[in-house]
Symmetry: C2
Amino acid sequence: MHHDHVESHLKSSATLTDIVIGMSDGLTVPFALAAGLSAVASSHTITIAGIAEIAAGSIAMGLGGYLAGKTEQDHYKSEMGREYDEVENLRHVEIEETKEFFANIGLSPELQDKATAEIAQDKDRWVDFMMKYELGLEKPDPKRATHSALNIGLSYIAGGIIPLSPYFFISDATQALKISVVATLVCLFIFGFFKSKITGVNPVWGALRVTLIGAMAAAAAFGVAKLFEQ
Amino acid sequence: MHHDHVESHLKSSATLTDIVIGMSDGLTVPFALAAGLSAVASSHTITIAGIAEIAAGSIAMGLGGYLAGKTEQDHYKSEMGREYDEVENLRHVEIEETKEFFANIGLSPELQDKATAEIAQDKDRWVDFMMKYELGLEKPDPKRATHSALNIGLSYIAGGIIPLSPYFFISDATQALKISVVATLVCLFIFGFFKSKITGVNPVWGALRVTLIGAMAAAAAFGVAKLFEQ
């Protein structure tokens, strides 16, 4: 029963997952960059660098997500063509592979033969079966790539504005950094919490991990920028 | 036969995949950031901002990869505990779910019953079966998370140094940008080519897509920085 729950949950939350991914990355990298630059630059420079990073990151992540989705579709199509070809022209090989699947899950030789014979009756069904259980490929949703790209890209922008906004209004970079750190760590904790809920990890523990990664990235960027300042 | 090939290929190239992912992202984002800042800042500022971004991005991506790996392990463990519990205490539900699996792949009611009876004989095997084919979860490699984090993080750094290096040596940001654009687009094409080979897409077409994403991210960052310069 919990499986139905998990599955429906996972499907309805594909959008939510994209948003949380985009937003937590958008919070982390522009945050760390701004923190790093606070060691060496003015609020004005940090604002411009931050906005350039948000533009670059959202496009790279968004289009990256789009590309990954398209690649998945191409890959699925080409593998499906191959399977149809093999079912047609290398029937004995496919029969062996289907038997092997049933052997691997623990069926007796007798049932392996019977089950294989039944599945091989319907070519479409057989190919579907091979795609899913031999190759482990799910049929990709054709609209997923575009939606995913938009969701991730826009969430990256929304996430990135949070650590950057103090620098818009406060000209002293060190002062802006303090507010940025507090606001971003709070948001990272909240998003880490939801991210963990989606993936089924202990939410508080997961939230602490995500927050810690953000803090470490920011501290490293700050340290490295200080080091290279001279 | 091509399946064995694909599978062994995919396993041996897990490291390669990490490297290509880290490197192509490391090429894209620091490249776009540097290009954006070239509209408004000196080579010295761009170098520091770029290094801060590489530190931030490599930690965020590396630790992000580590976290994803750990989450996958936690998720697998908790689901496995649940399955053992259900096989023990909700045997009739699990029997129904197992039958449903065999019904979905197209077996006759008679074989559904027989196959389910055989699988349900061995508890460990049954749970393995449910994990893999009902929940679609593969047993994660425990060392994978740490390796993946290191590979992605280090490749991000290696990738990021390429677009940034002209700014180390050329004080005129516009001149440095020109070399950075050429060097980075060439590298993006090469990495796009290998990335496509790994995922089984047409390599030249895939390489062009990856290069285009990098170019668009850089152009957007440049445009946005120019816009906010005033």
